[in-house]
Symmetry: C2
Subunit: 151 residues, 2 copies
DNA sequence: GATTCTGCTGACCGATTTGATCGCGAAATA
DNA sequence: TATTTCGCGATCAAATCGGTCAGCAGAATC
């Protein structure tokens, strides 16, 4: 249940694109501004391109830009583009697993886990992220003092 | 953002223990009933023992049992025992990360992600799991038809 | 048309993690 | 003492992670 460097980088790069609405942004500038290794970032941007989140042009005056308005791109989409489906269990989607005996209800728990992740990640768009205006229920989760407590 | 085999196994084994309240249960029986490789499971049970969730005795009549009542053991505890902290980002806790530029708000998102995971995993005890009486908000998440939709 | 710029892409790399097995020692019981 | 069962480190193959390298393919500029 951890967030990989790749996913973190991807969201940050996408946020940077969302904040630069006009014209292509060079990979190098994204790498610099978010302190991400350039060549690693290029692979990530390629993933984002393949899943239709980003578009790109080569050559002088080339670079990357969002394929859709930042309001229409959720953080969940970005993460899925680089990490694949969210909240898989043993590499399988929770709805496809059946448990037996005392663990019968476990499937419902994993489904709930996925649903709660989705509630946060699908409701938050890149526009929300760069503007700082997170959806209300996300803000409430983040504002809870207990949520900042390590465990 | 995936659930490892180890975590899945750990919760299932713990559920099996929660459902066998009297006396020690042999590793072999746990492995059989939940279809988990025995020797792998033994390592997992050792982790659970080290974190005080389970106790064990060797020899004939030996086996494993819960160190606490099943009502007092959350699924979150079990997962932490085998996987470490939940929802770390790049192997660091989200509260320790600071982002710059357009990604400044990202920390709040990761905090919210962790909080939402905790809301599910800390509120659900092994007793809830084996009885099938999941906490209301967990049940609501799992009952939403959209939550069963793959993506 | 040649050059330069920049993205595209596959190959590769070392370290770590994952999912597991083996073997043996140490308790507990009979 | 023999048997049972857990404790635990060693080892292992495969996958993943985080990242680098090198060369090709378009796009713009001169």
């Amino acid at each position: 249940m951890r967030v990989s460097a790749k996913a973190d980088y991807a969201v940050r790069a996408a946020a940077e694109l969302a904040a630069s609405p006009d014209g292509p942004v060079k990979g190098e500038r994204l790498a610099d501004s978010q302190d991400i290794p350039l060549q690693f970032l290029e692979h990530i941007l390629l993933d984002l391109k393949h899943s239709g989140i980003v578009r790109a042009r080569r050559g002088a005056k080339g670079g990357y830009w969002l394929a859709k308005p930042a309001e229409e791109v959720s953080i969940a989409e970005v993460i899925r583009a680089v990490e694949g489906p969210i909240a898989h269990v043993q590499s399988a989607p929770p709805e496809s697993i059946t448990y037996t005996g005392s663990a019968k209800e476990l499937q419902n728990v994993w489904i709930a886990v996925r649903a709660s992740l989705r509630e946060v990640l699908e409701s938050t768009s890149l526009a929300d992220l760069v503007s700082g205006e997170l959806p209300e229920h996300v803000r409430e989760l983040a504002d809870d003092k207990d949520a900042w407590q390590p465990r």
